[in-house]
């Protein structure tokens, strides 16, 4: 600690319990732990020095951006140092000719887009925490957002990162052009949840802001018809900028909260945004409206002004807090399934919801099959969180069973280590650990997150019924 204090400016190392309190959790507040200390460096050299010291004494380091993550990826350890990148807030350059921005890792998504706006450009990934979340955290999690169906994830929008390794070396991955010599280390690094290095700088791509954006709201009498519409829209060659779905519980909660004019008796709602040149958008609207009607939509509303578009979005964007108003607590899940499985998934989730006696609201990115079931509960009731976690586990198991994955955009963190055992077998997990060792031989960076130990999976497997297949399936059970 003394060496760390010497390496940092006055006030950049926190260790009093009241100073540590704000760092005890990230966006997943159900997981809490006070760290040993928090370092808030100001320069790359300080980050390098911190890591050199920590690696020498084998002190775990937990990198942290804005702390908005939803899988406890930034959850501290009581024997570990939280490395906050909050002071890396400078936008180093906006290059309108090459349409890139070079920023320090603590810059928020919104700040990048604001700096790019005078040139008619924007940074595309837009996770719901975009006002607060930082590019370093986006890179660690490979963040998505509402518009990634058309504009891609973080991995599609970052050209280069500068990272500090566990040994304190500064490396550049990627390049300012479109590719780099050697392995695609940038692709490997993005989404590595702070286990392979600490981002200090990134060069991101900027895109021209589309001059026209229109939103169609479509209400459906059944979840099945809404899911059919999703497949029909995609099948006809439309590439909406966003394609979101809400179920009845979510619609009612959102409407009560923001009064966006959502039809509260609809079983499901689709929000389909189309953008581009005005002429292009006109062509697409015609095709989209036909497809929505054909699939059984009984109510369509097309935004005719920017105010109206934003109002219609407001219901969707405030769906989480809206659900927060109808129950004391909610737990947000994140799995991806093939689009064809949406009706089956929602049906099974409803069955599970009944079985566990917990209400579930569904708000999700239908266009890419990324589900966000919100499990409603009351944390003050003893053992309710435990039941919620069991239900959540069953939902992720269902995603794998339907051909999907256990996390679409929130990451594994500390939260989904057990579900990772469903998704991967021992040989893949072993390879993940080898990759970790290649970057971080002593395992000091965010240890224990993102990839479960083989031991943990073996123990879990011993008591777990894999993908609903029970031993001796021929025996009747009641």
């Amino acid at each position: 600690m003394q060496r760390l204090r010497k390496a940092l400016p006055e006030g950049a190392l926190l260790s009093k319990p009241e100073e540590l309190r704000p760092y005890e959790c990230d966006g997943l507040t159900a997981y809490r732990q006070l760290p040993l200390a928090v370092a808030i460096p100001e320069t790359v050299a300080q980050v390098q020095e911190i890591l050199r010291i920590c690696e020498e004494v084998r002190l775990p380091v937990i990198p942290r951006g804005a702390g908005t993550g939803l899988s406890a990826g930034a959850l501290p350890r009581k024997d570990g140092l939280v490395l906050s990148m909050a002071r890396f807030r400078n936008i180093l350059a906006v290059d309108p000719l090459n349409r890139t921005a070079r920023v320090e890792s603590g810059v928020t998504n919104r700040a990048i887009s604001e700096a790019a706006a005078p040139y008619g450009l924007f940074y595309a990934p837009d996770p719901s925490s975009g006002v607060a979340c930082t590019i370093g955290g986006n890179i660690a999690e490979n963040a998505g957002g509402l518009h990634c169906l058309k504009y891609g994830l973080t991995v599609h929008n970052v050209l280069s990162v500068k990272i500090v390794t566990a040994k304190g070396n500064l490396l550049t991955l990627g390049a300012q052009g479109f590719d780099s010599p050697g392995f695609d280390l940038l692709a490997l690094f993005i989404g590595s949840e702070g286990l392979l290095g600490v981002v200090v700088e990134a060069t991101v791509r900027l895109l021209p802001r589309p001059p026209s954006s229109r939103l169609i709201l479509a209400a459906f009498p059944s979840v099945e018809s809404a899911a059919r519409a999703v497949r029909l829209l995609i099948g006809r060659g439309l590439m909406p900028a966003a394609l979101e779905m809400m179920d009845n519980l979510a619609i009612r909660a959102a409407e009560d909260f923001v009064h966006a004019g959502y039809p509260v008796d609809a079983a499901a709602l689709l929000l389909c945004e189309l953008d581009g040149l005005p002429e292009e958008v006109e062509d697409q609207i015609a095709l989209a409206e036909d497809s929505l009607r054909e699939s059984g939509a009984n109510f369509l509303r097309l935004s005719s002004s920017e105010e109206e578009r934003l109002l219609l979005w407001k219901g969707r964007k405030s769906a989480f807090p809206a659900v927060g108003r109808i129950a004391p607590d909610y737990y947000c899940m994140d799995g991806t399934i093939p689009r064809r499985a949406i009706p089956a998934a929602l049906r099974r989730i409803a069955e599970l919801s009944n079985a566990y006696g917990l209400r579930v609201a569904n708000v999700f990115h239908a266009g890419d099959g990324n589900l966000h079931p919100l499990i409603l509960y009351d944390a003050s009731r003893p053992e309710e969180l435990e039941r919620v976690e069991k239900l959540g586990g069953r939902i992720l198991e269902l995603c794998v069973e339907l051909g999907g994955v256990i996390t679409g955009e929130h990451g594994v963190g500390a939260e989904k280590l057990d579900p990772m055992c469903l998704q991967f077998r021992a040989p893949e997990l072993r390879q993940f650990h080898r990759i970790k060792t290649a970057f971080d031989p002593h395992g000091i960076l965010n240890p224990g997150k993102a990839v479960p130990t083989l031991h943990r999976c073996a123990e879990l497997g011993a008591m777990h019924v894999h993908q609903g297949k029970v031993p001796f399936p021929e025996i009747e059970r009641f």
């Binding site: 290059d95 000719l97 090459n98 349409r99 890139t100 008619g120 490979n142 991995v155 280069s160 490396l171 550049t172 390049a175 300012q176 052009g177 479109f178 590719d179 780099s180 010599p181 050697g182 695609d184 280390l185 692709a187 490997l188 989404g191 590595s192 589309p210 995609i234 060659g237 590439m239 581009g276 040149l277 002429e279 292009e280 062509d283 697409q284 991806t336 093939p338 689009r339 064809r340 890419d368 099959g369 051909g403 999907g404 994955v405 679409g408 955009e409 929130h410 594994v412 990772m420 991967f424 077998r425 040989p427 893949e428 390879q431 993940f432 990759i435 060792t437 290649a438 970057f439 990839v451």
Partner: protein, 356 residues
């Protein structure tokens, strides 16, 4: 789907072959359709062919995902997608009709649409791969959003078989936009770069932009309305046989590439000036971000130039490709990663770098 008679799953035999090579420490030269031997350094090793391991495994157009075995011919995949109005937006160059899906992804090649629609790795969702121990590993999946585990599937794209032999690849596919149009305008290369900077900052449905030394070619894909709006605003001559022109750019059958001699590939930020490190014929693709340059220069000088510009360069000479040297720290990370997948160093040794 396709030529189903020839489809076969050789996973077991390939894994057995790999295990034997691992045990005997036999270096292997991984081969698909053998169309791109020049895209790397020569490999001394026993030929290990993935060609027979072929067939489309799953393709549901409304899921926008296709999964096929590595040896599946690329032309077969193009044909299948086209029958459903879809395409691979990264337009992979094939360098011959025998090109396979596995070889294409292993080389990580992307065509003229790359700056506008994405690179090969952007469309890779998942892989099954045989590592240097002979283990079959599965990474990624068949869904578009997936952040479970390290993104090994994308990482393997472009590694040219030095980390594993791809067995299956799952790709994101897209609906092909209904219409396409190409405009040609006489411009100097410098003026072309200037114009491209202006155009690319506007939301035109641009899907390719190249300059052949005399003319700037701009391709658009979209709806009728979008194309009319774009072409009216920009102006230029409509190119009649645009598809074959872009094919010649993609496959390097354009006359620019026909003369023998060393050829440099410069990968730099698109607006980079000067256009090249020295004198010599120049072909700009990727809106200026990929430049083919026939200059005679010391490799070290070109590599320094490219590095200063924030990019890198590759030299194609006498049937081989030489890559820009990478920094020692980065190279040793490459070696540790290589070792983690291929502890005996039997997979395409030396293909990317002499010591890798």
């Amino acid at each position: 789907m396709g030529n189903e008679d020839e489809d076969q799953d050789l996973t077991a035999a390939l894994a057995e072959g790999m295990r034997q090579a691992h045990d005997a420490k036999t270096p292997l030269y991984l081969i698909g359709g053998d169309t791109k031997p020049f895209w790397g350094r020569g490999v001394e090793g026993r030929r290990f062919s993935l060609l027979g391991h072929r067939g489309v495994i799953r393709y549901e157009p409304t899921e926008l995902v296709l999964t096929a075995r590595a040896g599946t011919p690329l032309v077969e995949i193009h044909r299948l997608l086209a029958a459903h109005g879809q395409w691979l937006p990264f337009e992979p160059p094939s360098f011959g009709s025998a090109a396979t899906l596995g070889g294409t992804i292993a080389c990580g090649l992307s065509g003229p649409a790359r700056p506008f629609l994405g690179a090969a790795r952007d469309f890779v969702l998942g892989v099954r791969v045989l590592d240097g121990r002979g283990q079959v590993l599965r990474f990624g999946g068949e869904v578009i959003k997936n952040v479970a585990g390290y993104d090994v599937a994308r990482f393997l794209t472009g590694a040219q078989g030095t980390l594993g032999a791809l067995l299956e690849v799952s790709l994101k596919v897209h609906p092909k936009p209904p219409v396409s149009e190409t405009l040609a305008r006489k411009e100097s290369a410098e003026a072309a770069i200037q114009l491209l900077v202006e155009l690319a900052a506007q939301p035109f449905p641009l899907t390719a932009a190249c300059h052949d030394g005399e003319r700037l070619f701009l391709r658009f894909h979209g709806t009728e309305g979008a194309l009319q709006a774009a072409t009216n605003r920009i102006g230029g001559d409509r190119l009649a046989d645009a598809d074959s022109f872009w094919e010649s750019v993609r496959e390097q059958t354009h006359p620019f590439f026909s003369e023998p001699g060393p050829l440099w590939r410069l990968s730099v930020p698109p607006a980079t000036l000067p256009l090249a490190p020295g004198r010599g014929a120049l072909f700009l693709d990727w809106g200026g971000a990929q430049r083919w340059w026939k200059g005679l220069a010391e490799p070290a000088m070109v590599w320094n130039w490219a590095r200063e510009k924030g990019g890198h360069a590759m030299l194609f000479d006498s049937g081989q490709c030489h890559r820009q040297p990478i920094d020692p720290d980065l190279l040793s990370l490459h070696k540790r990663l290589k070792h983690s997948f291929d502890p005996e160093g039997i997979l395409n040794p030396g293909r990317l770098y002499e010591t890798l």
